[in-house]
Symmetry: C2
Subunit: 340 residues, 2 copies
């Protein structure tokens, strides 16, 4: 282990985006007198009559949810992207805009209002994985869709307006910024080495060991060398696969297992329902071969010191670079011991 990385300010390079993160290991000692978040640990009922995601309830737009038993998918009632919206383009000197079409869906992970992925059985998480696969396939085959973003906002602090366990899919006609960056970086590497950038990185991490949190037969959970969020983690399949459709039945269960392991560890870290945004980055559905893609799932949790004190990505981070106080290796040290 390079101890300089634990002692002195430095920046680390993100091989997937080509950008840097500033790390200030000595700064974790700073006292905190700022904003505290509310802990969302309250007990919730299994069914909440006022929840618009619970089975059988009526949504804001008047539609009634079916009495679903496991996973339930519907079109987002307030979709940011629409499939039938007008196509146009603005190319007026330094004003440049393009219309964007898309399809947005909501996925209820469970009819049980009180649960989160961390509380669900691996078999039930596997049903969510199968739904993601199905939706990636259906949406990806639509002619207007070239990219499918699967994600979850968990916790009020992450802008989630309903505690019922659910995630979202925003699929669209062009590649969003973050995907564009990862597409370019992976392609450049693949063209040069004929090998997966993330696959080669994974080999190096498995040798270094210090950022590995957990592994099973098919997956590794680690904190990437260039992690931005205090307790950021990434799930990487050991086989280079471009998207989640390449998972065998066994691998899909293994994927559900690692999701279960890391979300449970997160809840234990500060003894609270741990907020995060998670997302799967995988190959665009743009008809290209995309052999350079190695899909992965990331968790970006905001909490830093406790269940109530988060890391603020504000002034310097917005105008300069993302910045973190505890190092990736320190975060791994704490998370690793919490895996069941």
């Amino acid at each position: 282990m390079n101890t300089d990385l634990q002692d002195y300010s430095h920046k680390r390079f993100n091989i997937l985006t080509g950008e840097w993160v500033l790390v200030s290991p000595h700064r974790a000692k700073r006292p905190w007198q700022g904003q505290n978040e509310e802990v969302s640990g309250e007990d919730r009922p299994s069914h909440d009559p006022s929840c618009y995601l619970c089975a059988g309830n009526t949504r804001i737009n008047g539609e009634q949810n079916p009495n679903y038993k496991d996973v339930f998918v519907f079109n987002n009632d307030f979709a940011a992207l629409q499939s039938n919206s007008k196509t146009f383009s603005v190319d007026d000197g330094l004003f440049k805009a393009e219309s964007e079409q898309g399809i947005c869906k909501v996925i209820c992970f469970s009819p049980d209002h009180s649960k989160s992925l961390a509380d669900m059985a691996v078999d039930d998480i596997n049903k969510v994985v199968e739904t993601w696969q199905n939706e990636y396939k259906i949406l990806g085959s639509e002619s207007i869709i070239n990219y499918v973003q699967i994600f979850e906002n968990k916790g009020a602090v992450m802008g989630c307006s309903n505690p019922h366990p659910h995630g979202q899919i925003w699929s669209q006609s062009t590649l969003p910024n973050e995907v564009e960056k990862k597409d370019k970086q992976q392609e450049a590497y693949f063209n040069k080495k004929q090998s997966s950038l993330l696959g080669d990185y994974l080999k190096q991490e498995l040798e270094a060991t210090e950022r590995i949190i957990y592994e099973n037969n098919h997956f590794v959970v680690l904190t990437p060398f260039w992690a931005v969020w205090p307790f950021e983690t990434m799930i990487v399949p050991k086989r280079a696969q471009k998207n989640i459709l390449e998972l065998s039945k066994n691998e899909s269960l293994s994927f559900a297992d690692v999701i279960s392991k890391i979300t449970k560890a997160y809840d234990k870290l500060f003894k609270s329902s741990f907020p995060y945004s998670s997302g799967i980055h995988q190959a665009p559905t743009n008809g290209r071969s995309n052999n350079h893609w190695h899909w992965h799932m990331s968790f970006y949790p905001p909490l830093l010191r406790s269940a109530t004190v988060k890391k603020f990505m504000v002034g310097y981070e917005m105008f300069g670079s993302p910045q973190r106080d505890i190092t990736a290796e320190q975060a791994v040290g704490r998370l690793k011991g919490l895996i069941e």
Copy 2:
């Protein structure tokens, strides 16, 4: 005005960073059941004995603040960057890191604990501007410093841990991500056209008029075509200047005037002390000519619907692209009428 931009989902191109923002004009109708922020409108005393930024008080590290009368600058007691930290570099396969040195300072804008820039007289804001100039000069001339980031986090929701009016400067040896992007985009344009990218953009905006909020002799306040935050604004000098040292005495006062105008308008928008992160992007102090740079100051305020409901940049925004609901033009419509 192109009405398609007010009606249909689209993405807009940021000429300064080369990235896109997703705009969903129809989505502002979405109801909000999520987290509410606290309004920080409470009356504060002019001097708070427990505040470590007030004149004469003792800071956490035991140092005593002088009885300052206007602006007071000191080295950050918990600096993210240090000037004497070890220099090293990691170049180990796909692990890449570089040490980073720097100097971090805190600037108290006024001894009056109860004030913010919005409450200060233009002459007093001008003293802050002169301090920024002075610090840019001093820090920029240090051999280890190649870039000086001036910024302010205002409000608890922006991670500000002390309501005493203050901003920060983080200066460092390399260019942070956002500055690197703007450096490249401006340089490419300047090399091609021998003219300032932002200057040419400003001309186009002044003709279009629909995104202009206010102008005086030397400055324009506008919401950029590609704005990300709901009520984002940018202050642009009419003359192409690479840094704030090029301001004449008159221009410096004009700059203080536009800061006063926009911060007062912000406070009126939701009748509260309006939170934001602001920052000045200007030429690096790396010894290059940097004639392609046109400095500007931006405000990134998080509030969307009211003093308590902010825009969350979470799942889709973290994994995809920034996304906004109200259009830049709608935001301008609301801010413009609030300028005194």
